[in-house]
């Protein structure tokens, strides 16, 4: 199932959170060889995790992480604007309608549908929070994955070639893409919507706002 959690809510799901940071270490440090920091507990965290970002996380029945990504608004500090402006030829991406999506991570044992499920979660964020686009940094390998799940980004800038290429890309999410991604994820749009509202409280029934 998908959970939407801000960093300050991760402590409620310690097993989920820990396995996410562990899987990130595995993906970004061990498998991709990125220059990321892994702490003494084997967890990969960076400065942006300290800015209370929003995570979309796939939780397996055992309560552990299978895939995740991280969001921050581009009106605040972002990885693209602080580290990757050269990929955009200088300058930045800033808009209240664009959020940055980073650390797209899949656990080693993740089934193939989980990447699509995460995209579906991204789509819920766009629809419900008025976000027009996501901007993100990713490597060559991810482009194939994104294309496979029917959510290919548009490349705004690229550096390097082959496997070492790093790109800044941009997503939007049409209603058609939503259906395609939902099918690949094996999750009905209604269930996806339910997970979203469960995380953001709309169905908690504690609303007594009638005058």
């Amino acid at each position: 199932m998908l959970r939407y959690l801000y960093a300050d809510q991760l402590h409620i799901f310690p097993r989920l959170a820990e396995s996410m940071f562990r899987d990130r270490a595995c993906q970004f440090k061990s498998r991709l060889g990125w220059d990321v920091t892994v702490n003494e507990h084997g967890l990969e965290k960076d400065a942006y995790d300290a800015l209370n970002p929003l995570y979309v996380i796939w939780e397996a029945p055992d309560g552990r992480h299978r895939g995740s990504m991280r969001f921050l608004p581009t009106t605040g500090r972002t990885m693209i604007n602080e580290h990757f402006t050269d990929l955009l030829g200088g300058g930045t991406v800033e808009s209240p309608l664009i959020w940055e999506c980073t650390r797209f991570c899949l656990a080693r044992e993740a089934e193939s549908r989980i990447a699509a499920a995460l995209m579906l979660g991204g789509g819920e964020i766009m629809r419900h929070f008025g976000v027009a686009h996501f901007a993100g940094v990713f490597d060559a390998r991810m482009i194939r994955i994104y294309r496979m799940i029917g959510a290919a980004p548009e490349i705004l800038g690229r550096q390097g070639t082959g496997r070492a290429a790093i790109s800044v890309g941009l997503w939007d999410f049409s209603e058609t893409a939503r259906k395609v991604v939902a099918r690949r994820a094996g999750v009905s749009p209604a269930l996806s919507e339910h997970w979203f509202h469960r995380s953001f409280g709309a169905d908690l029934g504690h609303m007594r706002l009638s005058a």
Partner: protein, 241 residues
């Protein structure tokens, strides 16, 4: 260039952008409330020290009362938005506590509507503010309202916050927001009178990507629309035609 006519909202945002003082911001907030056809529209700044200021259409008696009662401490909207960056429908907040229920009752007595939508805002140095639209209607009507106006409300929220930051007394000068070369290219071609399709074609990008460049440039320039973004970029010497 695509000189499509300015929308009524564009005009109001432009007015906000040129507001010389808080009184003018106040006047624009009233016109924006009328534009959205809602009961109230409010911009509420909370400093790290707990100082508050803002503008909007709540009854001044309520504002006074809110401060006097120190409602900041129990207002579920503040609590629910403080560490968040997504817009929040009041319906999703926790109003179940005794203090929150009493607060809500008091708010309704002072003329607030039962529905609310708040956009959290963050500026430099932990600055926090909220932009809120408040109304009295049933849940269905409110859902439709939000779906129709969500992005407009988000944009309004940011314009209010930019303006408020500008009025801050000991504000450090705003960091210059550099346009990326692609944004410069896009605005330059628009300024030369190219249509969007031509611009996209010339830059070998899709119109979709072009929209994003324009959107980002517009925000950096504090422009309400493309036409204004182009004219500001020219007047600031960012593009040369």
């Amino acid at each position: 260039m695509n000189a499509y006519p300015r929308s009524p909202l564009d005009r109001l945002l432009e007015e906000l952008e040129h507001a010389p003082d808080v009184a003018a911001m106040q006047a624009t907030s009233e016109r924006l409330r009328d534009h959205f056809r809602v009961a109230h529209l409010v911009y509420h700044w909370v400093s790290a020290a707990g100082d508050q200021y803002g503008c909007g259409t709540y009854d001044p008696v309520w504002v006074e009362h809110y401060l006097e009662r120190d409602y900041l401490r129990i207002d579920p909207v503040i609590r629910g938005c403080y560490q968040r960056f997504h817009p929040v429908d009041w319906k999703t907040l926790d109003w179940s506590g005794k203090a929150a229920r009493a607060f809500l009752k008091d708010a309704l007595l002072h003329g607030l509507g039962n529905q609310g939508y708040s956009v959290p805002l963050r500026g430099p140095n932990g600055q926090f503010a909220l932009f809120t639209v408040n109304h009295r209607c049933d849940d269905h009507a409110w859902r439709v309202f939000i779906e129709t106006n969500r992005r407009d409300m988000i944009l309004c929220a940011h314009y209010f916050n930019e303006k408020a930051l500008e009025f801050e007394p000991d504000r450090a000068p705003a960091p210059s927001r550099q346009l990326s070369p692609r944004e410069v290219d896009a605005l330059t071609l628009l300024a030369l009178g190219y249509g969007r399709a031509q611009v996209a074609d010339t830059l070998s990008i899709s119109e979709h990507t072009l929209r994003v460049y324009i959107e980002s440039a517009r925000f950096k320039l504090g422009a309400v629309n493309t036409v204004q973004a182009v004219s500001k970029a020219i007047s600031q010497g960012l593009i040369v035609i």
